[in-house]
C-alpha cells in the first residue's frame, strides 16, 4: 500500500458524447480521458460549445457517455441500480449556472434541507448538516429569508450550501459564476477555495473566465470536445497562442506579462499575480 498515492475521485476513460440535433449529429465530447484526484482544485476552461458542460454532467451521471466509462470512487456511472446512482450523485454534488433555477423552496433553510430530506437523513443530523452547510458559505444568518431578495452571489452560495448538505466529496460547478457580477464571483471563489482547503472537498469549476484558475492547482482546457491543455495554470498563461486558439483570453496581468516578454524583456510570461509581476518589472530597471 502506497500512502502517498492520491486517491482517485473521478476517472473518465475515453468518453464521448454526441447529441442528435435535427438528424445531424453533434459530437460534444470526443474521446476525453481525464482523472481527478481527491483534494484537487481543477478549473475546466472552454468557450461556449466546447463541450465543457456536457463533460461536467457526465461526472455525476446526469449524462452517461455513449462511449467510454466514468468511474466515481469505484462506481461506474453506467450502473443502473438506484443505490449506485444516488450514491454517485450524493458524492459528486453539482451546482448549476442560474441559481434561480435550482432552488426548490421559498425559505433558504428548507432549500438546503431538500437534499438530505431526499436521502432520508434523520432529523437531528439534518439540522446539523443544514447549519454546517450554511455556515460554510457564510449564509447561516439568512436561513429564514426568502431567496428572492438575495444578490446573485448570495443565491449561488445558497445553491452551494444546498449541495454541501448532502456531504459530497466533490463539488462540480457548471458555469456557476457566469451570471454573477464581479463581487458575486469573488464571493463564490472565496467560498470554493476555503471548502477545498479546509474541508478537503475536491472542486471542479467549469468556467470561461480564465482569471478564475489563477489560484487553482490544475487547469484543463477543452476545445471542440477535446482536451487541448491539461496542466498548471502558469504554463497555460505562458502560451498565449494556445489560449487564443481555444477562443479564450489571457487575464489582464498575464496579458501584460506576455506583452513584456514578447518585447524581449526578462519577465515570466505565465505570471498571473499582480504583486509578482510588479516585483519582476521593478527588477528590470
Amino acid at each position: 500500500m502506497c500512502y502517498n498515492m492520491p486517491m482517485q475521485a473521478i476517472s473518465m476513460q475515453n468518453v464521448s458524447y454526441r447529441y442528435a440535433v435535427d438528424d445531424a449529429d453533434l459530437l460534444a465530447v470526443d474521446r476525453v480521458s481525464l482523472s481527478i484526484e481527491e483534494g484537487e482544485f481543477v478549473v475546466l476552461l472552454g468557450t461556449n460549445g466546447s463541450g465543457k458542460s456536457t463533460l461536467a454532467k457526465m461526472m455525476n451521471g446526469l449524462l452517461v457517455p455513449q462511449e467510454g466509462q466514468v468511474v466515481v470512487y469505484g462506481d461506474a456511472t453506467s450502473d443502473e441500480t438506484d443505490e449506485v446512482i444516488f450514491r454517485i450523485r450524493a458524492t459528486v454534488g453539482m451546482v448549476f449556472q442560474n441559481p434561480d433555477n435550482q432552488m426548490v423552496a421559498s425559505i433558504i433553510e428548507d432549500d438546503v434541507a431538500f437534499g438530505p430530506e431526499n436521502l432520508g437523513i434523520a432529523h437531528d443530523e439534518m439540522v446539523e448538516r443544514v447549519r454546517w452547510a450554511l455556515e460554510s458559505v457564510g449564509m447561516y444568518e439568512y436561513r429564514s429569508h426568502t431567496p428572492t431578495k438575495l444578490s446573485g452571489g448570495q443565491k449561488q452560495r445558497v445553491a452551494i450550501a444546498s449541495v454541501l448538505a448532502m456531504r459530497p466529496k466533490v463539488l462540480v460547478l457548471d458555469e456557476s459564476t457566469a451570471m454573477l457580477d464581479p463581487v458575486g464571483r469573488a464571493e463564490v471563489m472565496r467560498v470554493l477555495h476555503r471548502l477545498n482547503r479546509e474541508a478537503g472537498i475536491t472542486v471542479v469549476l467549469i468556467t470561461h473566465h480564465m482569471d478564475e484558475c489563477t489560484e487553482a492547482s490544475r487547469a484543463v482546457v477543452l476545445n471542440r470536445g477535446r482536451v487541448a491543455y491539461d496542466g498548471k495554470p502558469h504554463d497555460l498563461f505562458a502560451d498565449e497562442a494556445l489560449v487564443a486558439s481555444c477562443g479564450l483570453e489571457l487575464p489582464p496581468v498575464a496579458k501584460i506579462a506576455t506583452l513584456l516578454g514578447d518585447m524581449g524583456l526578462k519577465v515570466d510570461k505565465g505570471t498571473s499575480d499582480l504583486d509578482a509581476l510588479y516585483e519582476q518589472i521593478c527588477r528590470l530597471k
Partner: protein, 281 residues
C-alpha cells in the same frame, strides 16, 4: 410588482403569526363552514368582533386587512341590490313592477353583505399571518392520511413548493420582458380587445420559452440533489402544536358559543327589525 405574491404576508412576528399553520388552516376552514350557519345579527356581530380581535392581536393594520375586501366590493354591492329588490320578503314598503322593498329585504341584504365580507376577511387574515411556505407545509401535513389511498402527497408538496418558489421569479421575468418590448415600441394598454390580445404574443412567447429553459435546468437540479432517492424521505420542518394554537382554538370556541347561544337567547334581530322599521316609517 415582484412583492405582490408575498406582499399578502404581513410580517409582525405576533402570536398569531407563530401559531401552527395547520391549526390556522383548520380554524379557517371551520370559520368558513360555520359562517353558512349564521343567520342572526348577533352571530355576525360576534364574527366581526372575532376578526377584529384577531387582527389586533396579529398587529395587522385594519386598513391593510380591509384592502382585501376591495376585490369583492362590486359583488357585495350587486348581491345587496338583488336582495333588496328581489327577495320578496315581508310587507312591501315600496313596490314597482316586480321590484319591492321591505324591512325584511333590507335586513336580509345587510346579512348577505356581511356574510360575504366576513367570508373574505377570515381567509385574508390567514394569508396575512401565514407564509405561503407554511401553508404548503400545513396542507401537506393535513393531507398525510391520503397516503393510505396511494395519493402522492410528497410529490404534490414538492410541486407546490416549487411553484411558490418560481412565482416571484417568473413575475420578475414577465416584468422585464414587458419593459423590453415596450422599449421596442410595443403598446400593451391601447387599442381594442383584439389588438390587446395580439400584443400579448411578444410577452407570452419569451415567457414560455424561458419557463421551458428553467424547467430543464430545474429537472437536472432535482436529479442532482437525489430527488426520489430514498423511499423513506425525512422532513426538515416539524410542525408543532403549542399553547398559542390552544389560545386560538379557545377563541374560536367562544365564537361558536356566542353564535349558537346568542342566536337562541337574545332576540337581537327583533330589536334591529323594530329599530329599522320605526326609522323607515
Amino acid at each position: 410588482m415582484k412583492d405582490v405574491v408575498f406582499g399578502q404576508y404581513y410580517p409582525t412576528g405576533s402570536g398569531v403569526h407563530h401559531m401552527d399553520a395547520r391549526a390556522k388552516v383548520v380554524l379557517a376552514l371551520a370559520y368558513i363552514v360555520l359562517i353558512f350557519f349564521v343567520d342572526s345579527f348577533v352571530g355576525y356581530f360576534a364574527y366581526a368582533l372575532f376578526v377584529l380581535s384577531v387582527t389586533l392581536v396579529a398587529k395587522v393594520p385594519l386598513r391593510t386587512l380591509l384592502r382585501s375586501v376591495k376585490g369583492v366590493a362590486v359583488l357585495v354591492l350587486f348581491i345587496s341590490i338583488i336582495n333588496v329588490f328581489f327577495s320578496g320578503l315581508g310587507e312591501p314598503l315600496w313596490q314597482w313592477w316586480i321590484l319591492s322593498v321591505s324591512v325584511d329585504s333590507l335586513l336580509h341584504a345587510a346579512k348577505m353583505a356581511l356574510r360575504i365580507l366576513l367570508l373574505v376577511l377570515g381567509p385574508a387574515l390567514l394569508t396575512y399571518t401565514t407564509t405561503p411556505m407554511e401553508l404548503t407545509d400545513a396542507i401537506e401535513s393535513l393531507m398525510t392520511p391520503l397516503k393510505w389511498v396511494r395519493f402522492p402527497v410528497r410529490d404534490v408538496a414538492v410541486i407546490m413548493s416549487i411553484a411558490l418558489r418560481m412565482i416571484p421569479t417568473l413575475m420578475e421575468e414577465t416584468d422585464r420582458i414587458m419593459l423590453a418590448q415596450k422599449a421596442r415600441g410595443a403598446s400593451l394598454d391601447t387599442g381594442n380587445i383584439f389588438k390587446r390580445v395580439k400584443a400579448l404574443v411578444p410577452i407570452l412567447i419569451p415567457l414560455f420559452v424561458g419557463a421551458f429553459r428553467r424547467a430543464e435546468e430545474l429537472a437536472l437540479a432535482l436529479d442532482a440533489r437525489c430527488y426520489n432517492a430514498s423511499p423513506k424521505r425525512t422532513r426538515y420542518r416539524i410542525l408543532r402544536f403549542g399553547w398559542r394554537d390552544l389560545v386560538g382554538l379557545l377563541a374560536f370556541g367562544s365564537l361558536v358559543a356566542v353564535v349558537v347561544l346568542g342566536a337562541v337567547r337574545y332576540d337581537f334581530d327583533g330589536m334591529i327589525y323594530d329599530l329599522v322599521a320605526s326609522w323607515v316609517h
